[in-house]
């Protein structure tokens, strides 16, 4: 049988299938771990509705916990509160930067592309200049002179940018 603390230790080592340098806990995907009798109840939240990695992550979590000694694992998907890139830990943002992926930590100016304040609900505020991309520092050379190449990059959650100084392309985790 696996304790809650031991379960978290295991989960800290379950990598995101697309970005192996970070774990599912770094991303804030695991919301809670509770021991109910013999069963470990793990609540997780998907990042994007259509994220193709969600089922893979669920299988990885179940496998990792079972291998580590959990007698029974029950996964529950929760949608609310909705996942936000704000739940990414600072450590995760640093690991991503070292890996060459930019996050909110590299943003100079979100511009109108940043989410509008929560108090905008229910009155919608969609400024029409919101098709301007966020200004992002290069995660490799830190130069502010970068440009966005594509709104969607290697995965739906990331955009593709390139640095005009060191000439390297990089992905940017879109704020959501």
């Amino acid at each position: 049988m696996l304790s809650v603390q031991a379960a978290w230790d295991v989960l800290h080592r379950v990598p995101d299938p697309e970005i192996p340098v970070i774990s599912v806990t770094d991303l804030g995907i695991v919301r809670s771990v509770v021991l109910a009798g013999d069963t470990l109840r793990v609540r997780i939240t998907p990042t994007y509705s259509g994220c193709p990695a969600t089922e893979h992550i669920e299988r990885s979590i179940k496998e990792a916990l079972t291998t580590a000694g959990a007698s029974a694992v029950q996964l529950e998907r929760v949608l609310s509160p909705a996942w936000t890139s704000d739940w990414m830990s600072e450590a995760a943002k640093q690991k991503l930067k070292d890996f060459g992926i930019a996050t909110a930590a590299c943003v100079i100016n979100f511009g109108p592309s940043r989410e509008v304040a929560p108090e905008a609900v229910p009155a919608p505020v969609f400024p029409i200049t919101w098709h301007k991309p966020a200004q992002v520092n290069c995660p490799r050379c830190n130069s502010p002179r970068t440009e966005r190449l594509s709104e969607f990059g290697s995965t739906p959650c990331k955009s593709m940018y390139r640095c005009l100084v060191c000439a390297e392309p990089f992905d940017f985790f879109k704020p959501i």
């Binding site: 994007y48 509705s49 259509g50 949608l79 909705a82 609900v121 969609f126 029409i128 190449l149 969607f152």
Partner: protein
């Protein structure tokens, strides 16, 4: 049958059919970046559809899951707006459809979150979908501005698409006495115009005149295009029922 079930099914079908049409751009988009964008928007929307279909199945309580609802229903049982099933035609049509539909969705998700009588799970789906729809509207809106305020050719095509598609919105804002479930979280035409009009203005496009035309997709009465959309979507599942990967 609880009225919530049909409402959630209507929302699910809007997302499912819109996604299915958009995914037809795979391999045919005008540029690689657009290939990714349209496919990913279709994927996000399909994710919404899956969540909504699963919820609809639960509310119905007749044992139908997302697959049964997506693959085993006949044409007249789908409750999506007719706009969603219209063929892609050309890039301008796709972009205009995208602006019209995702603007409606953006307002819908907000209305659902604040509706008194919406189920909690539906509110959770709305909360999540709202963030993604914002990016979709951003993409389609940005493109409409580039097309409208572009060359004479792109503006001509964008205006032609707008003229053709505009009155398919009438269905969204007209009450249907035979379908009271559709009043659960109403989005008004004024709210929608407040969102869409500034985009049309910036795109230098003329707002078409309203006509009395009202499409009937939400009542299960679809255009001639619906069958052609469903056939490839459902063919494999119907040929091999109960097959598993």
């Amino acid at each position: 049958m609880p009225t919530d079930f049909k409402y959630v099914l209507h929302l699910a079908d809007n997302s499912l059919i819109f996604s299915q049409r958009l995914s037809e751009w795979c391999g045919h988009a005008p540029a690689l970046e657009e290939e990714l964008a349209l496919a990913n928007i279709a994927l996000d929307t399909l994710g919404q559809a899956r969540l909504l279909l699963s919820l609809a199945g639960q509310l119905e309580g007749a044992g139908r899951d997302e697959d049964a609802l997506a693959y085993q229903r006949l044409e007249h049982e789908f409750l999506n707006f007719t706009l969603c099933e219209l063929p892609n035609t050309d890039f301008a049509h796709t972009i205009v459809k995208g602006v019209m539909f995702t603007a409606w969705q953006a307002l819908l998700w907000q209305a659902v979150q604040t509706a008194d009588n919406a189920p909690a799970e539906l509110k959770a789906i709305a909360e999540k979908s709202a963030k993604e729809t914002r990016y979709h509207l951003q993409h389609f809106g940005g493109w409409l501005v580039r097309l409208g305020d572009g060359t004479a050719l792109s503006q001509g095509k964008a205006q032609a698409a707008l003229n053709y598609l505009w009155n398919y919105k009438n269905e969204w804002f007209r009450a249907a006495p035979s379908a009271p479930f559709l009043q659960l979280a109403p989005v008004t035409e004024n709210q929608w115009l407040a969102l869409v009009q500034p985009i049309l203005d910036q795109a230098l496009l003329k707002t078409p005149a309203d006509t009395p035309f009202v499409s009937q997709g939400k009542l299960g009465q679809h255009s001639e295009h619906m069958g052609h959309l469903l056939a490839p979507m459902q063919y494999i599942a119907r040929s091999y029922p109960n097959a598993v990967w």
